[in-house]
């Protein structure tokens, strides 16, 4: 039983990490993985979604840009949801497990990337040797190791960790669980703040306030806020275009011809 569970969680994990890299399909979203996981574990997929929603909310907005990956949300998510499903626990417990796991799992990725980096010169050597076969072999070996590593990580975590986690979860006092729920509810603030930091420019302040006010006062759903965001973005785009055209005109009139303005006219 536990062996089977460990095995299927390992599979789900391998699938999740594949999706993480392949085609930037991450927007295929972890929820697919959670449904898969629930089916393989013989649990209710709807329940898996509810647990998964709590976990994804806590990860909401976290993203990797350039080199910095603060949390491996795929690993945290799969294991958090898996433990909660196996132990029939509440979403709060899944969050409690997912967050620390996601932080620890970054280490695995760093190790893998370190090894990939070491291999760059091997690839170079194969090219110098004009050996396509070896080049491709190493490419696929790396991908295989990547997949295997995450499979094993999940497999071992379930196999060896379930008993301990169960004992741990059962010993959690009620007030601690309340604290956990509150903390999980606050976590999306970090993701939001990271996103803000990435795109921030003081000139965007009014739109930030507008988005907040529309949601806070008019109780609009995410879709509506997004639509109004698109409205703002487009308005500013066209105003910028008009302003920009003057600038271009000015430069142009000082130098060459005037046919640049109509790039966007239709």
């Amino acid at each position: 039983m536990i062996l089977y569970q460990a095995f299927v969680v390992g599979l789900a994990m391998a699938f999740g990490k594949w999706i993480n890299a392949y085609g930037s399909f991450a927007q295929l979203m972890p929820f697919i993985t959670y449904i898969l996981l629930a089916i393989l574990l013989g649990k209710n997929p709807a329940q898996a979604l509810i647990i998964g929603a709590a976990v994804e909310l806590a990860f909401y907005g976290v993203m990797q840009i350039g080199a910095v990956l603060p949390q491996d949300t795929a690993v945290g998510g799969v294991l958090g949801v898996a433990f909660a499903l196996i132990l029939n626990q509440k979403p709060a417990v899944a969050v409690a497990l997912a967050v620390p796991i996601s932080m620890l799992a970054v280490i695995v990725w760093n190790l893998l990337k370190f090894w990939f980096t070491a291999n760059v010169e091997v690839f170079e050597k194969y090219i110098a040797e004009r050996n396509s076969h070896k080049f491709n072999r190493l490419w696929w070996i790396q991908i295989g190791v990547y997949e295997l590593a995450y499979f094993l990580l999940a497999f071992l975590a379930i196999l060896l960790g379930t008993a301990g986690i169960k004992a741990f979860v059962n010993s959690i006092p009620a007030q601690f669980l309340t604290g956990l729920t509150v903390a999980a509810g606050m976590l999306p603030a970090v993701g939001m703040a990271m996103l803000l930091k990435y795109v921030w420019n003081i000139a965007f302040l009014p739109f930030f306030i507008a988005g907040f006010a529309l949601a806070a006062y008019l109780q609009l759903p995410i879709m509506a806020i997004s639509i109004f965001g698109i409205v703002f973005g487009l308005i500013m785009f066209f105003i910028d275009r008009d302003i920009n055209n003057i600038k271009t005109d000015k430069k142009v009139s000082n130098s060459k011809s005037n046919d640049e303005g109509d790039f966007f006219d239709d």
Partner: protein, 275 residues
């Protein structure tokens, strides 16, 4: 931009192959070359096709192992352009085509494209799709499994048409767009959408539920109600601003994360927040 582009059968086949191989750009990243190795693996069959001459093929492989990094979804345009340049190289009499131009283009475009790509895909599109998905998932609604089909549309379109137009129309348009500031304007517009959505998310997704109440002169005083009267979702806003401020002070995200968790526990133990 005309949308009548004629491809030969050979070009069609190559195009499709490139498209599928480019899906692998995110694998096997290294610290020193990022997606450089992946670029080579992706373009292998195309280079093979272009360079009948084995020397030239391996030279291209060696040359293209160089550092490369962009939002994978945006790679199509660069790929298309690069391939058309490699073809020029193959056709040109030896030594007359300066391959530095290919590197230059790759390095020159990967930055702006990553800027737009990361902003749009991670900061706007992903955020919206995920937000909607979470609201479905919360209710255990399996319809969520259909959302990826919508979510992937811009991904696929940008990959496919980016590559197609990149290949055929050459660099002048993209160059021009960068120079005209259209690129910047587009990134700005995307960012505005992102920032608006983030503002809205704070009010709807971040929760700081205050349960504290007390009696003053016989009337019940509920802290949450007073806060709501001043500004609904005030605490979620404040928490996020504090996080933002810390991140701008270059406090590491992990520390901020831990700080928020501790704050959540503390406030709960003090009887201020609750569930």
């Amino acid at each position: 931009m005309t949308n009548k582009i004629k491809f030969t059968d050979r070009e069609k086949k190559l195009t499709r192959r490139l498209f599928w191989r480019n899906m692998f750009l995110g694998f096997n990243m290294s610290y020193t070359r990022q997606q450089g190795v992946a670029w080579d693996w992706v373009h292998q069959p195309v280079y093979r096709d272009i360079y009948k001459d084995d020397d030239q093929y391996w030279e291209a492989m060696q040359r293209n192992l160089e550092f490369f990094n962009t939002t994978p979804n945006m790679v199509g345009t660069v790929s298309g352009l690069a391939v058309s340049m490699e073809e020029e190289n193959a056709k040109a009499p030896k030594g007359t085509f300066d391959t530095a131009g290919i590197s230059g283009m790759k390095i020159g475009l990967m930055g702006p494209l990553a800027g737009i790509g990361d902003t749009f895909f991670s900061g706007v599109w992903g955020l919206i799709i995920m937000g909607i998905a979470i609201s479905f998932a919360k209710q255990g609604n399996l319809v969520v499994a259909a959302l990826p089909l919508i979510a992937l549309i811009p991904n696929i379109l940008i990959r496919w048409y980016g590559q197609k137009y990149g290949y055929k129309l050459g660099s002048q348009y993209i160059q021009k767009a960068v120079e005209d500031g259209v690129m910047t304007m587009f990134t700005k517009a995307s960012s505005i959408v992102g920032v608006t959505v983030v503002g809205g998310m704070i009010a709807t997704l971040v929760k700081v539920p205050v349960v504290f109440k007390t009696k003053i002169n016989g009337t019940v005083f509920e802290l949450q109600k007073v806060l709501d009267q001043i500004l609904p979702a005030m605490l979620p806003l404040i928490v996020t601003i504090i996080c933002f401020w810390l991140l701008r002070k270059n406090v590491s995200p992990v520390k901020v994360l831990i700080g928020v968790v501790i704050a959540g526990f503390l406030l709960t133990f003090l009887g201020i927040t609750g569930a």
